[in-house]
C-alpha cells in the first residue's frame, strides 16, 4: 500500500536512476562466501557489521530480559547474586562496546559515507576489513570470557574490586575490549581520511550532508579517546596478572586514578554513541520535511563542539568519590557546556520542520521518537551535572533511566530511523510501512513504560546494581518489567519484516523518499559495485529540494 506513495516521492529534479533488470549491483555481482568474508567493498563490510551487531544486540537484550525478570520481585528468586552481577556487566559491556559504539558508524557510516561524498570507497579499504575482523575477534574474546564464567565488575571495572577482589575473567574481557577498541580507532581513522581526501569535485566542507559532519566528529572522538581506555585496561591487566599495585591502595596505588583514566574515555564515548544518531536525525528530518536544515552551519559546528567539549567533563561521574570539591565545581560547570550545542540542534530541527511538507514514513516516526526521548534523556543529564542533586542521584536508578533514555530512546531510535531510511538503498527493497510504523509506536510506548518509572525509583533512592531491593520499590519495578516486555516486541518485529522484505519486498526505486544527497540522487538501489557510474560533481548545498524553476506550488 504505502509503496505506491513512495515511488511518487521522487521529484523531477532527482530523476529515478533506472537500472536494467540484469544490472549488476554490489549484492549480486559476486556470490561466493569468500566474496563476502574478504570483501573490500565498504557496502558489504557495512552489511557484515549489520549482521554481527544485530546478534550482539539480541544477546544484550536477552540479558536485559534476565535482569528485568529478576527485578520483578524484591527477593533474589530468579538469578543468584553472582549471576545477576555477571548479567548486568555483560549486558552493559555488550550493549556499549559491541553494539552501540559500532552501530551507526560501522553499519550506516560504512555503507553511506562514501556514497554521500561521491567516493568509490573509503580511503583504506583493507584497513576497513581489518577493523571488521578486529571487531569480530574482540567479540569472540568477550564471548569466551562470558562462556568461561563471565565477569562481575560492572562495565566500569572500578578498582580495586576489578584488580584484586574479583574472581572472574576480568583479564579476558579486558583483552576483548582492547581489541575491539582498535577496531573502533581504525574505523574512525579511515572515515576521517576519507572525508578529507575522497570528496568528489565540488563537494566543499559546507556542502557535506550533516550526517557526514556527525560521523566526522564521532571519528575524532574515537581517535582521541579510545587509546586511553586501551592503556587503562592494559594497566588493569598488568596489575591483575603480575599482582602489582597500580590502582590498589594496599600497594600504594590510587583507585581514583583509575576512574579518571576510565572516564577520560568513557565519557567522550557516550558522544561516540549519540553523535551519529544526531546526524541521522538531521538527514531524516530534512528529507521528510523536504526542507533544507535550519542553521546548517551551526548544526555542523555543534557536532564538533560536542565532540571537543565531551573531553573536558569526565569527572562528573566522580562527584561522590571524595575528589576535590573545587575540581568537582569546575567539572560541573564544564558539563553544562555540552548541553548548549545539543539544545541548538534540537531547536534547529524544530525550525526545520516549521513550514515544511512533512510526511510520516517509518524513519520519520522514529525520528519523532528520537526527538522526544533524547530531549528527556539529555535534560535529565542536567540533574546529574548539577552538584547539589547529583549527590543524591548518583548510582541510583535515576542514572539508569538517564542513560537508557539517551542510549535506547535516543541513540537506538536514531539507529532504527537510519536503518529504515537507508534500507531501500542497501537492499533495493521496500519494507512494509505498516509494520514499520507499528513497531516504531510499540517501541516508543514500551520504552517509556520501562524506563520512566526508573526516574522515580532513583529519586526514591533505589541503588543500581541491586538484585534484591526493599519492598516499597516493587510497584515501579513491576511497571518497568512489564514495559520491557512490550519493548522487546517492538525490537523483535523489525527483525521479521526487514528480513521478509529483503527477500520478498517490493523493488525500490533509486530514490524512494526523495532524498537530496548523492547516495540517493546518483546511485541505483542497490548501488553498483563501484558506487557511481561516473564521478559526480556537486554544484550546490545539500537539501536543495527546489529545481531551477523553484517549483513552489501553493496548495
Amino acid at each position: 500500500m504505502a509503496t505506491v506513495g513512495l515511488e511518487s516521492k521522487t521529484f523531477e529534479k532527482f530523476p529515478d536512476i533506472v537500472g536494467r533488470d540484469d544490472d549488476v549491483n554490489y549484492l549480486n555481482h559476486e556470490h561466493s562466501v569468500a566474496s563476502w568474508l574478504i570483501t573490500l567493498d565498504h557496502k558489504r563490510i557495512g552489511l557484515l557489521y549489520l549482521v554481527t551487531i544485530t546478534l550482539m544486540f539480541l544477546l544484550g537484550g536477552a540479558l536485559a530480559g534476565a535482569i528485568r525478570l529478576e527485578l520483578l520481585t524484591p527477593k533474589g528468586d530468579f538469578l543468584a547474586a553472582d549471576t545477576y552481577n555477571k548479567a548486568f556487566t555483560a549486558h552493559g559491556i555488550i550493549m556499549l562496546f559491541f553494539f552501540l559504539i559500532p552501530s551507526i558508524p560501522a553499519v550506516l557510516g560504512n555503507f553511506v559515507l562514501p556514497l554521500m561524498i561521491g567516493a568509490k570507497d573509503v580511503a583504506f579499504p583493507r584497513l576497513n576489513l581489518l577493523s571488521y575482523y578486529l571487531y569480530f575477534a574482540g567479540s569472540v574474546i568477550a564471548l569466551t570470557a562470558l562462556l568461561l564464567g563471565g565477569v562481575d565488575t560492572g562495565w566500569t571495572f572500578y578498582t580495586p574490586f576489578s584488580s584484586t577482589y574479583s574472581n572472574s575473567y576480568v583479564v579476558v574481557m579486558a583483552s576483548g575490549l582492547f581489541v575491539v577498541g582498535f577496531s573502533s580507532i581504525l574505523t574512525g581513522l579511515n572515515f576521517i581520511i576519507t572525508v578529507h581526501r575522497m570528496r568528489c569535485p565540488g563537494l566543499t566542507w559546507f556542502r557535506l550532508p550533516l550526517f557526514i559532519w556527525a560521523i566526522y566528529a564521532t571519528s575524532v572522538v574515537q581517535l582521541l579517546g579510545t587509546p586511553v581506555i586501551a592503556v587503562t585496561l592494559g594497566l588493569l591487566g598488568v596489575e591483575r596478572v603480575l599482582g602489582v599495585g597500580i590502582f590498589d591502595p594496599r600497594l600504594g596505588g590510587d583507585p581514583i586514578l583509575f576512574q579518571h583514566l576510565f572516564w577520560f574515555y568513557s565519557h567522550p564515548a557516550v558522544y561516540i554513541m549519540i553523535l551519529p544518531s544526531l546526524g541521522v536525525t538531521s538527514e531524516v528530518i530534512a528529507t521528510f520535511s523536504r526542507k533544507n536544515v535550519f542553521g546548517y552551519h551551526i548544526i555542523a559546528f555543534s557536532s564538533i563542539a560536542i565532540a571537543v567539549f565531551g573531553f573536558i567533563v569526565w569527572a562528573h561521574h566522580m562527584f561522590t568519590t571524595g575528589m576535590s570539591p573545587y575540581a568537582a565545581m569546575v567539572f560541573s560547570l564544564l558539563t553544562f557546556s555540552v548541553a548548549i550545542p545539543s539544545g541548538i540542534k534540537v531547536f534547529s530541527w524544530l525550525a526545520t520542520m516549521y513550514g515544511g511538507s512533512i510526511s510520516f514514513d517509518t524513519p520519520m516516526i522514529y525520528a519523532f521518537g528520537f526527538l522526544g526521548l533524547f530531549t528527556i534523556g539529555g535534560l535529565t543529564g542536567l540533574f546529574l551535572s548539577t552538584l547539589g542533586t547529583d549527590i543524591h542521584l548518583h548510582d541510583t536508578y535515576f542514572i539508569v533511566a538517564h542513560f537508557h533514555y539517551i542510549m535506547v530512546g535516543g541513540a537506538i531510535m536514531g539507529y532504527m530511523a537510519g536503518i529504515h531510511f537507508w534500507w531501500p538503498k542497501m537492499t533495493g527493497r521496500l519494507y512494509s510501512e505498516f509494520w514499520g510504523k507499528l513497531s516504531a509506536g510499540i517501541t516508543f510506548i514500551g520504552f517509556n513504560f520501562t524506563f520512566f518509572p526508573q526516574f522515580i525509583l532513583g529519586y526514591l533512592g533505589m541503588p543500581r546494581r541491586y538484585y534484591e531491593y526493599p519492598d516499597e520499590f516493587q510497584v515501579l519495578n513491576v511497571f518497568s518489567t512489564a514495559g520491557a516486555s512490550i519493548l522487546a516486541i517492538g525490537y523483535l518485529m523489525p527483525l521479521f519484516y526487514m528480513i521478509h522484505s529483503f527477500f520478498f519486498g517490493e523493488k525500490a526505486s533509486s530514490n524512494p523518499y526523495g532524498g537530496s544527497t548523492l547516495d540517493w540522487t546518483n546511485t541505483t538501489s542497490p548501488p553498483s559495485p563501484h558506487n557511481f557510474e561516473k564521478t559526480p560533481v556537486v554544484t550546490e548545498e545539500p537539501y536543495h529540494f527546489h529545481g531551477k524553476e523553484a517549483a513552489v506550488v501553493s496548495h
Partner: protein, 272 residues
C-alpha cells in the same frame, strides 16, 4: 548537492599508474591520504602513551620524593647511550626517506637496514639494562618485593642515625637478612616508600616496554619496506610507505626523548 552533471574525466579514460589503487583518482590524492592517515594514527598513539604519562604525572606529583630517589637506581649512562643510538637511528631513517624521494632505491634499503641495526642495538642495551634491573629486583617478577629498596634506604638511614644517636639501642639487621614484609623497624623509610618506589619501577617498566614493543613492530614494518625498496618498488612518484614508516619511527624516537629525562634524570641532581 544535486544538479547532477557528471565529470567526463572519470577513471576509465585515465591512464592507470601501477601503484594507484582503484578507488583513488590520482597518485597525489593517494599520497596525501596515506600521509594524513599516518599522522592521524600518530595522534592516537600520542594519547595511547598519554594514558601512561597521566599515571606517571599523578604518582610523580603524589610521591615526588621517592620517585626522585628511585630514579637514581636506573643507569643514566645506559639511558644516555640509548638516547644517542635512537637519535642516530632517526637520522638514518630520515636519510632513507630522502633517498626514496630522490629515487635511489638501493640506498633507501640500506639506510632502512641500518636503522633496524641501531634499533637492535637500542634493544640490546635495553635488554641488559632490564636484566640487571631484574636481578636487583626492580622489575616486577619473582621476588619483586622492593626489599632491596629497603636495604638501600636502610643502609643510608643507618649511617645517618649513627651520626645522631651515638650508639643508642638501635639494632639493625645486616643487609643480607630479608626483613619480613611489615617489620616496623624498617619503617622509617618504610613500607609505603618501597611501595611508591615499586610504582616508579612499574611505570618505568610499562613505559619502556610499550616503547620497545613499538620498536619491535617497527622492525617488522621497516624490514618489509626495505625488501620492497631493494625490489625497486619506490620512486620519487610513489614512496609514501617509506615516508610513513619514517614518521612512525620518528614518533618512537620522540617518545624516548621524553622518557629519558622523566625516568632517568629526575633524581640525578641528588647524586647516588
Amino acid at each position: 548537492m544535486s544538479a547532477i552533471k557528471e565529470t567526463e574525466q572519470d577513471h576509465g579514460q585515465h591512464h592507470h599508474h601501477k601503484d594507484l589503487a582503484h578507488h583513488f583518482d590520482t597518485l597525489e590524492q593517494q599520497h596525501d591520504a596515506n600521509t594524513l592517515g599516518m599522522w592521524a594514527f600518530l595522534l592516537t598513539e600520542v594519547l595511547f602513551f598519554g594514558g601512561l604519562f597521566a599515571a606517571y604525572t599523578i604518582y610523580r606529583y603524589k610521591y615526588s620524593a621517592v620517585f626522585e630517589e628511585a630514579s637514581n637506581h636506573l643507569d643514566i649512562k645506559l639511558g644516555a647511550i640509548n638516547t644517542v643510538i635512537l637519535i642516530l637511528s632517526s637520522l638514518t631513517m630520515a636519510l632513507a626517506v630522502r633517498c626514496s624521494q630522490t629515487g635511489s632505491s638501493l640506498w633507501t634499503g640500506r639506510w632502512l637496514l641500518i636503522t633496524i641495526g641501531f634499533g637492535l642495538m637500542f634493544l640490546g642495551v635495553k635488554y641488559f639494562e632490564w636484566k640487571h634491573d631484574y636481578h636487583i629486583h626492580l622489575m616486577p617478577g619473582k621476588d619483586w618485593s622492593g626489599k632491596d629498596w629497603w636495604h638501600w634506604q636502610y643502609a643510608k638511614q643507618a649511617k645517618e642515625m649513627e651520626a645522631h644517636s651515638k650508639g643508642a639501642e638501635h639494632s639493625y639487621p645486616d643487609r643480607n637478612t630479608v626483613p619480613p614484609d611489615n617489620d616496623p623497624k624498617f619503617g622509617v623509610k618504610g613500607i609505603q616508600e618501597s611501595q611508591q618506589a615499586r610504582l616508579f619501577f612499574l611505570l618505568y617498566f610499562c613505559m619502556t616496554s610499550l616503547h620497545a614493543l613499538h620498536m619491535l613492530v617497527g622492525f617488522v614494518l621497516i624490514g618489509i619496506i626495505a625488501y620492497f625498496a631493494y625490489q625497486g618498488a619506490y620512486s620519487p612518484e610513489y614512496y609514501s610507505p617509506v615516508e610513513n614508516i619514517g614518521l612512525y619511527w620518528h614518533f618512537v624516537d620522540i617518545v624516548w626523548i621524553f622518557l629519558f629525562p622523566l625516568l632517568y634524570l629526575l633524581g640525578a641532581h641528588m647524586g647516588h
